[in-house]
């Protein structure tokens, strides 16, 4: 049964799907959550008058957002170049 499964199922492609989806899906979730946290904390710190901390959170938020966009662009580039 195991030999048959190895012959029929394309395990390397299945593994590629699993690690790609896990890697990209979780990376984007982390990066976007950081972006949301950065934006929220930026608004709070600015309201409290702490310019330096506000700028720091704005930078963190922008970096998170940039990582999301980069991941999306990279994904599309990879898909279009394969064919």
């Amino acid at each position: 049964v195991s030999l048959l499964a190895d012959k029929v199922v394309e395990w390397d492609k299945i593994a590629q799907v699993i690690y790609s989806a896990l890697g990209v899906g979780l990376a984007v979730a982390i990066a976007f959550s950081v972006a949301v946290a950065g934006g929220t904390r930026f608004a709070e710190e600015r309201r409290d008058g702490d310019g330096i901390r506000a700028a720091m959170w704005a930078l963190i938020g922008a970096l998170g957002f940039a990582v999301c966009i980069a991941a999306i662009v990279l994904g599309i580039v990879v898909m279009t170049t394969k064919d």
């Binding site: 012959k7 029929v8 199922v9 394309e10 492609k13 299945i14 590629q16 799907v17 699993i18 790609s20 989806a21 896990l22 990209v24 899906g25 979780l26 984007v28 979730a29 982390i30 976007f32 959550s33 950081v34 972006a35 949301v36 946290a37 934006g39 929220t40 904390r41 608004a43 709070e44 999301c68 999306i72 994904g75 599309i76 990879v78 898909m79 279009t80 394969k82 064919d83």
Partner: protein
Amino acid sequence: MHSDILLVLVVGTALAFDFTNGFHDTANVVATAISTRALPPRFAIGMASLLNFAGAFISLAVAATVAKGIVDPAIVTLEPAIVFSGLIGAISWNVVTWYFGLPSSSSHALIGGVVGAAFAAQGSKAVMGNGLVGKVIVPALVAPILAFVVAGIAILICYRIVGRLRPGPVGAGFRLGQVISGGMLALAHGTNDAQKTMGVIVLALVAHGDISSDHIHVPQWVVISAASAIALGTYAGGWRIIKTMGSRILKMDPAQGFAAQGSGAAVILAATHVGFPLSTTHVISGGVMGAGAAKRISAVRWGVAGNIVTAWVLTLPASAAMSAAVYGLTRVFGVNSEAGPIVVAALILVGTVLLFGRRVRRGSPLTAPQT
């Protein structure tokens, strides 16, 4: 396939299937964004429609799998009615599940349909069992579970990072995220689902002698017409399914919607890249349930989820059986007669018009949740 009439009929039927695919499936893509009010329904459907069109152009790996990896193209050329019967069986199953508001899988309906008709016509030798199991059935099992896991972990990470912040701005942030992740999911759907129709049309072109079975490729007009059909179908409907997917399975917050859509997009795009024809419905359902279960197991309405699983299990055999029956009907008029497919196409057309008429008389279809 040497009949031009039959080729036109098959291409027209394939595009009609693509339209029903968009009509039936694609609204699932935006259901979560609508249920969390990240996007107004009409805008969400419009955006999904445009991105479905665009998505159809970014890959052709799935089209290749459908054209040469599931049934033997050489055998299909012996009986032109096989591709036609497969399509009609898939469309019939799509219309039935749409009418009763059941989320099914257009993709598996199409594959089940082609396999059922090929099996009925030429027996098991026509079906490439390894391709069916390795490229369709195993990925169909893995993908929803993977989406469930990715969405579950993703939502836990999201809550961990933003959990102590004020919910108002965080919700607004994730609604923006849903616009992006919903767009990616629509793009992913376009690239995976439109390609299945392209694969079937290519199969018909191979059977007609327009494309060599040794050098299978997808002509540009096939890509453009399949992209247009699925985009138009997306815009035309899908409200019943939106209600089932967006609110009956789970009441979601914007972060959960983002996690569900993002995980779905990641899984579909990764699978498309390696040529696996997946069901968007299966994957997004897995993502929705994963995002819900990670927060609170009881938040998921498992009864509705169970109904959906039942529909999944039924799709392949039911569409295969329908296609086999359609093939049998076309055979009544002769093995390579054009009359059979023409009569069946006319019957299906009349039946579909009657169903739509009945729907119109019963009032407007279910709308997106208002709560």
